[in-house]
Symmetry: C2
Subunit: 385 residues, 2 copies
């Protein structure tokens, strides 16, 4: 099997980007990515565009907006989608392009322009990533889905509202150290705990953000990677798994079985286990999701996720630093961009370029990206030389 590495990264500023359209957000990320890699667009063979939703940005076939605006035509580009895990399916598709021999150098772009509609409309659109027949019409939106998960976790394992809030405190702390993050504001435990309720037990600071943003990485075959980069970051494990559409059809609410299965597949492919991971970015769309991710990825025993954050083991310097770029919680969650942004943080960490939030000399990193309420999950494992 051909080896594939990340040889370039470009992260746009996440936030309310009323200054830029979807295509302009992509331009910003692609330009930074190509500059980082030191290659020109002419050298790139193919492209994959991840956009989660047509309805945010008033235009179907968003991939065409992108290849037109950056001037990539006539070369291949198309869109992939898996709700909030869209960025990671874009990476997987880019990887397949290279391993199958169709391309040697592939640009993977993730983007979402979410703030062109109101927050309530955005919440409604996202709600339909659950079951649009049996869940959403009865009033469930994403805070509701994850509130059910949180309640179940609290009931079964004694996880506390304080532990949820501790995830927010950590991720806001690191968001302040990440210039590309949407929120640049620390939050105290008390402020998080007393913020207004969204869906019990989730409060304002338990929820991730509605954000505009784009991120791009350049993938290369082994030969090209060695020619281009002094610090290639190899994609050594890829796992993708799916689950039922409806939360109520799951065997358990306290775990996302798609994430557990994706992790199993990715660990096996990489030939490693959870204890080999030095740094991770996980899908903290809500604080409870990060705690569940600790458990699903095997960073701790089932039910022990709350204690892991309480012991500050997921801070830099802890046993397994998680979301030290701010996570979805503070960096923001432009759906299509998130999976690509996660891979960028891991690349920075493995290159030793994460500045004030650098983990000490990590060798292996992991991304965990969930679509919808867990209908799909992808786990990717990266390794430096």
């Amino acid at each position: 099997m051909r080896k594939v590495a990340i040889v370039g990264i470009g992260h746009g500023k996440f936030g309310v980007r009323s200054d830029a359209s979807l295509r302009e957000l992509v331009f910003e990320a692609v330009k930074a990515c190509l500059e980082d890699a030191g290659v020109t667009l002419d050298e790139v063979d193919s492209m994959v565009t991840g956009v989660a939703c047509d309805e945010f940005s008033f235009g179907i076939q968003p991939s065409a907006q992108v290849h037109d605006y950056i001037g990539f035509y006539p070369k291949p580009n198309y869109r992939v989608e898996a709700a909030c895990a869209t960025g990671s399916v874009a990476l997987r598709t880019g990887w397949m392009n290279i391993v199958s021999g169709l391309a040697d150098l592939v640009l993977v772009v993730g983007v979402e322009k979410m703030t062109e509609v109101s927050t309530s409309v955005a919440t409604e659109i996202m709600g339909r990533a659950g079951d649009a027949i049996w869940e959403y019409p009865f009033g469930t939106t994403f805070p509701g889905y994850y509130a059910m998960i949180a309640n179940a976790h609290m009931a079964e394992y004694g996880t506390t509202e304080e532990q949820l809030a501790m995830v927010a405190v950590k991720n806001h702390y690191y968001g302040c150290l990440n210039p590309y993050a949407h929120m640049q504001k620390e939050v105290t435990l008390e402020k998080a705990l007393t913020s207004f309720p969204v869906a019990y037990p989730l409060k304002l600071y338990d929820c991730s953000l509605i954000t505009d943003g784009a991120a791009a990485v350049l993938l290369a075959s082994e030969e090209r990677a060695r020619a281009i980069s002094k610090k290639p970051v190899w994609m050594v494990g890829l796992g993708l798994a799916t689950d039922t559409l409806r939360l109520g059809d799951r065997r358990s609410l306290t775990s996302l079985s798609a994430a557990r299965e994706a992790a199993r597949v990715a660990y096996k492919m990489a030939g490693i286990g959870p204890m080999d991971i030095d740094v991770a970015t996980v899908h903290d769309c809500f604080t409870i999701a990060e705690i569940v991710a600790y458990e699903d990825l095997g960073f701790c025993e089932k039910g022990e996720g709350g204690k892991l954050i309480e012991a500050r083991e997921t801070y830099v310097g802890g046993r397994i630093p998680v979301n030290v770029d701010g996570g979805l919680k503070s960096k923001g969650h432009p759906l299509g961009a998130t999976g690509v942004s996660m891979a960028i943080e891991i690349t920075k960490q493995l290159r030793g370029e994460a500045g004030s939030r650098q983990v000490k000399d990590p060798e292996i990193g992991l991304t965990h990206n969930v679509g919808g309420s867990g209908q799909i999950a992808l786990v990717h494992i990266f390794r430096r030389e």
Copy 2:
């Protein structure tokens, strides 16, 4: 490079399917596909779902509806999209899954449920697959885009309204022989020519249909293909190319340069030329599009497409039979399903199972699938043993 073959095909009935939801349409096609291949869903490793547009069917992440309803979880599945060429990018992604070694048996599904919204809303949604900033807001919808192409072709090459109508006559004739086609009605040249104007010179019978439908194929690695099928149909050439978003940015209106480039790449990969093709399905979203496709694929000289249909060379028995399944024009055009449906017709032809519309002993077939007004095109070449 690993070889990939189609070893199973399943075509749902195309039409106004008020009897079935999107997920039910897929079930119908997948069931037929697995029965055709003689394998169970348990044996399938991975799946790709092609759906063009969120907005037709009130639910983002449509791939999750599909893998949930057919019971495919926890195995991999995600959505790909390229407007009207969505089905062909699904095939390409399925092919990459196998060639990259991620899977040996991949189910490729294309589906669209278009009639849940009104015809005018559907037309508006599709119009946005053009440039939603610089074209669509000024009133252009798809008949308008292709009317401009038709006018340019008539002005430059003397193509006539009669020649356009002859494409409709042929495709309606063959639609009557295809039980899965939306329209089962022959049309005379006179009736086509006197049907009501939609966008000059295009009349009602120059336009394809708004249709519900699903189609599925099963792809297999060489080893699995030989074990499963007596008549594997090999995917031997894949071409994908892109073009500008806006029609007005193109160098020519009388050719789709993405299609020409995709054909060049596919022919090269297959090691053949246009004259080696025995049967083809092309993207006749409008009658002019079929005439342009003849030329872009090299079936005739530039500007000679009108004469090719006039000489009936694209009928069964002619030099290069095209769209003898009825084409988008008569079979219908459920966006996400179309590319997969095209591959099914070619598979039937190469297996010698096309019944009353069988081309005599074809060895090599081609599909030509265009997204939007030509922002993307895919050409696939298939070969029997």
